[in-house]
Amino acid sequence: MAKHADLSIDFLGFKCENPFFLSSSPVSGTYEMCAKFLEAGGGGVFYKTLTTTIPEECSPRFDVQRKEATPFISFKNMEQTSDKPYQDNLDAMKKLKENYPNKLIIGSIMGMDEDNWEEMARDYTALGIDMLELNFSCPQMTYEGMGSDVGASVELIDKYVRAARRGSNLPLIAKMTPNIEKMEIPARAAINAGAQAISTINTIKAITGMDFDHFTALPVVNGKSSISGLSGKATKPIALRFITNMAQDSELKDIPLSGIGGIETWEDAAEFIMAGASNVQFTTSVMQYGYRIVEDMISGLSIYLAEKGFDKLEDFVGIALKNIIPADDIERDFKILPQINYDKCVNCGRCYISCFDAAHQAIEWDNKNRKPTIDENKCVGCQLCLQVCPVYDCITPGKVLFKEEDQFGMGSKTKWKDNAVNKHDVIVGKYDRP
């Protein structure tokens, strides 16, 4: 068989078989569920968050956001912590660790106050599981001072991490909320108080849509609804941004990260790892497709890494970070003009519409022949046309033009010249400003 890279990777001293984990959620709520995922090849589980008081749940509790024919691109849920008896859940975690000693078993806690955090941490530690995740981030808890309320408060984080630490000597992972401007601040507080790692993102406070008959948000519960947590593919860009922020933060840069947010494919997972995560967690994709998605994650990532020549997954962690730079450091000396392959063009005119209505009126439209042509002078190389073209490989990056000297701040009046620089060089970063 083709070469597959070894996907094993260390996380806080535990040698994980691979970086694919269930996140603490409805998909990791019983022994049987977690066992099925581990049997399918998963590297470990973050067992569903427990509280010592079982929450009351509503029905229905989910809504989805669709786009055209795509089955949902994001998912909203109103579920809280486990609805199963506390002791049953503890027994399940214990049994998981006993039966799957080589898989990473992490318990997720949400305490009500300091004593409760400490007591739960102690209960969990007695189970023989590997680590604890501290849930500071669920946005739909019905109790004040729990969930994402904690994640937004440096004081509460400090108190609760210390409480958990008193109850346990296991590695602690703080799960952070994205419902905040600078996640680095509470994340630093968690680390300073004794957590060893950060996992993020939890769900984003959201409304997926409104009901047109009952005039409320979705889902409708007895004529009402609430803001609650959004997950799924649409949240990935936001999650990747937070992971990158964490990994690039001067105080957090050596802290192990566990990435969460819209992961469905091996490519999604690889993106989080490139941005600095040592492993990834997912739920929404499992809700939609089942645990079997992990098979393609393992297969796809191991083939990719082998082909790219990575001997171990560790070498891939954070590999993109040095190339994600502040916007003011981005090269702005050239433009790459799009080129249209007329053999592939189906004459739909979508590029023309987008360019005229939303860009720089740089495409001319020959209505008789239904043919678009790019005006090199007007085109700024934004490549919107390339993004909207419905035909694969029809509009592609073409000629590279450079600003003539002393053209700073000229905007649409800028003069351009052809320096005969290869477009590939300016894309991959081989071009150095003269």
Binding site: M1, A2, A69, T70, E264, T265, W266, E267, Y289, R292, I293, E295, D296, M297, S299, G300, I303, Y304, D343, K344, C345, V346, N347, P390, V391, Y392, D393
Partner: protein, 453 residues
């Protein structure tokens, strides 16, 4: 390029009046279209498409791999289960196998599994992704007769297990029915050649122009150290009907007609007024060949109704769209000629008193095929009256070191994909046989050398 000439006869076909004989009819998916099609897949629990594949190519898993952007993983799934994945993607009777089982039909129409399989096998090739690395061949020598789908599949399976395989092929090209019996518009030769190369790259040797029984005997093969022999010779003889005028010039068979068209592209004479007799895929291939080779008029004559014809529906519609005539519930009664050359076919209704008279200079029998007589080549082999090998089970025959797979096996379903599976099953039986024989030999050989001289 405008797509306005796309006619919805068969998915992916853009009908071009000028389509060449060697030009593949079905266009490939672009990456966008492949993903769109994979996204249509319902990702069923226990996917019935996978159960519907006779060769265990596992479409449920490879479509899921595409859906989750694991394209190379998809290539692994296909190639490791079906060494002729690219061929099967083009010639499988999907409507009876994977696509026929597709639950998406409950919503609108099945996933185009064949085209997705082709997309992945094309992708595998263009990216140079190598799925199978052969282990060094350290085990026994196995011989195979006939380099068609069954032998190629068995050979690849055994080569992957470390056996050293030689295939003896009487023709100058390997591939059997793939190289001689299917119209290139459906299966271009380059696809066949590439997949044969895949098999030879696994260490399988193919000896061309070597007819077993003529150029080499079975005993000679045995004496050269081959410990097991697979009979995978296919069906080389076209059946005909006992019709007056059978010996007129212009009366031919599907095997001859398709074989000549494919291997002798320039000199092949398709005929002017061509009549094809039969209602299966082979008959359609003959008719398409005649049409694409510029015969003036092509008529398919079939003894039953259109609904009863065993041919693939999409192929049937495609053939009709090429302007080929069909005459159903008619059977040839007499061939008439002048100076020994066919001029006229008279046919009678099979279900009423209809009669038809057709001008024809060429008539092609495509009403079924059967194997050559192997009773002299493999002495003692169990054959039925039509020369099919009466196998025991899993490709074993009444002779311990002789195995059978593919169309020549009496019990087989006569398709490429079933032959691929037959090859895999026979390979397993061969492995079991050789392992057992090896063990027996090991246990019989004395612990200490006899004698002291």
């Amino acid at each position: 390029m405008s797509n306005s000439n796309n006619v919805g006869v068969k998915e992916g076909i853009s009908l071009k009046p000028s389509q060449g004989y060697l030009e593949e009819t079905v266009t490939p998916f672009t990456p966008f279209l492949a993903m769109e099609e994979a996204a249509r897949c319902l990702l069923c629990y226990n996917p019935p498409c996978s159960e519907g594949c006779p060769a265990d190519t596992n479409p449920g898993d490879f479509i899921r791999a595409i859906r989750f952007r694991n394209f190379k993983g998809a290539a692994e799934i296909i190639r490791s289960n079906n060494i002729l994945g690219g061929v099967c993607a083009r010639v499988c009777p999907y409507e009876k196998t994977c696509e026929g089982a597709c639950e998406r039909s409950g919503i609108d129409k099945p996933i185009q599994i064949g085209r997705l399989q082709r997309y992945i096998t094309d992708f595998e090739k263009t990216t140079g992704f190598q799925v199978l690395d052969p282990p060094p061949s350290t085990k026994e020598k196995v011989a195979m007769i006939g380099a068609g789908p069954a032998s190629l599949s068995a050979a690849a399976t055994l080569a992957m297990k470390g056996y050293s395989v030689t295939i003896f092929e009487e023709k100058k090209k390997a591939g059997g029915v793939l190289s001689y019996g299917i119209v290139p518009a459906r299966l271009p030769q380059y696809v066949v050649d590439e997949e044969i190369e895949y098999v030879t790259n696994l260490g399988v040797e193919i000896k061309l122009n070597t007819k077993v029984g003529k150029d080499i005997t079975l005993d000679e093969i045995r004496n050269q150290g081959y410990k097991a022999i697979l009979l995978g010779a296919g069906m080389q003889i076209s059946r005909t009907l006992d019709v007056p005028g059978l010996d007129l010039e212009g009366v031919t068979t599907a095997v001859e007609y398709l074989g000549k068209a494919r291997s002798n592209d320039k000199d092949f004479n398709p005929g002017k007024n061509v009549v094809v007799i039969g209602g299966g895929d082979v008959a359609l291939d003959c008719a398409t060949t005649a049409r694409l080779k510029d015969a003036e008029s092509v008529t398919v004559l079939y003894r039953r109704t259109r609904e009863e014809a065993p041919a693939n529906r999409q192929e049937l519609e495609y053939t009709e769209s090429l302007g080929i005539n069909f005459a159903f519930t008619l059977s040839p009664a007499v061939f008439e000629g002048e100076n020994g050359k066919l001029t006229t076919i008279k046919a009678n209704g099979t279900r009423n008193k209809s009669a038809m008279k057709l001008e024809a200079d060429t008539v092609v029998f495509a009403i079924g095929q059967q194997p050559e007589d192997f009773s002299k080549v493999v002495e003692g082999i169990g054959l039925d009256k039509n020369n099919f090998v009466t196998s025991l089970e899993n490709g074993k025959t009444n002779i311990p070191d002789i195995f059978v797979a593919g169309d020549i096996d009496l019990d087989s379903i006569k398709t490429v994909v079933n032959s691929v599976q037959g090859g895999k099953i026979a390979a397993k039986s061969i492995e079991e046989y050789l392992t057992k024989a090896g063990r027996k030999q090991a246990s019989c050989s004395p612990m200490h050398p006899k004698g002291g001289k």
